[in-house]
Symmetry: C2
Subunit: 191 residues, 2 copies
């Protein structure tokens, strides 16, 4: 992967994502961000071109990661249940690596401007692929014949909230979480 030493720009983006998670994009000022970095607000502009630009960098890169991961899963030859497990693992992995960014992706996407349409396109594409996996599973009799949107909504809601939960489990092994989550999401809580 990419293991260059972190550039100053990346450091700003990472710090911004942390603040955005705590207070939301709109409530974080350039002076807040600068102060957290130990510099003055104007100095930020040596590295980034605008506040908007920071948000874009945070959100779009993650959204593209999801798009790519989902495309691989969808086009694979695995059975439905296996695909669902892979989607769960994909969310756990991406979220574990960037809980701050996931908060922005979930809560601040509407403040994208230039890239809003692109983001929405990626998200719709992702959801459509997910829905197709579920529909195919129903058709093949692998999963229950309940409303596909209800199942999509239920699973995706849990996966999208992972950024809130993962930081609370300090000693977290992503593989274990993905497995425990798969059990509950796929088989329910009933005995």
């Amino acid at each position: 992967m990419n293991s260059q030493p972190e550039t100053r720009k990346q450091e700003i983006i990472r710090t911004a994502a942390k603040l955005f998670k705590e207070k939301g994009y709109s409530a974080v000022t350039m002076r807040d961000l600068a102060s957290e970095m130990g510099i003055k607000a104007a100095s930020l502009y040596n590295h980034i071109s605008s506040k908007q630009d920071i948000l874009k960098e945070i959100i779009i890169s993650i959204a593209e990661e999801f798009t790519e991961g989902m495309a691989n899963i969808r086009s694979s030859n695995h059975k439905t249940i296996e695909k669902l497990k892979q989607v769960i693992a994909l969310h756990v992995e991406i979220t574990s690596n960037n809980t701050y960014g996931m908060a922005s992706l979930n809560n601040d996407w509407m403040h994208l401007e230039e890239q809003l349409d692109y983001y929405l396109q990626l998200r719709h594409n992702y959801e459509d692929n997910f829905r197709e996996i579920i529909k195919n599973g129903i058709k093949s009799g692998e999963i229950i014949d309940e409303n596909p949107d209800t199942m999509l909504f239920s699973i995706l809601s849990t996966l999208r909230s992972l950024y809130l939960w993962i930081p609370k489990k300090e000693d977290l092994v992503p593989e274990e979480l993905a497995q425990s989550l798969s059990k509950v999401l796929i088989n329910g809580v009933n005995k």
Copy 2:
């Protein structure tokens, strides 16, 4: 229930909640809100005492509704699965009645100031009660012996996201949604 004609203050709060859902508390200005009401920003202050005050009114009332509903369910004599179904129904009902307010409850609670501690207390209390229901279900053998926090997290994430989903189902009968959701959350998607 309360079927007085809506006061101007309530109208402001309802309109604010709608805007808060779209853009978040911090991104909505008093001028945005006034313009949506067809008046000038200063006129709002004939009815409310501050922007903060609006947020408080939106969030605290809903949080108290949840606290009360949960207390009733917890202290009832029903079996675990029945209690879970009632918790699901509670969320569907409250969210159906106020999808805008639920957005603020989920996303803008950190901008509460005076009432932040009180809100957090209500939320912890709610989550503790929920967790106890699950733990009792495990002890009595009614539900699987998986990590209670994983189950709590999974179910609660879905229920907390309902405000995003309910508005998309125009022809929604709350009872039907609650039932369909119960099936998926309790029994999973596996056949």
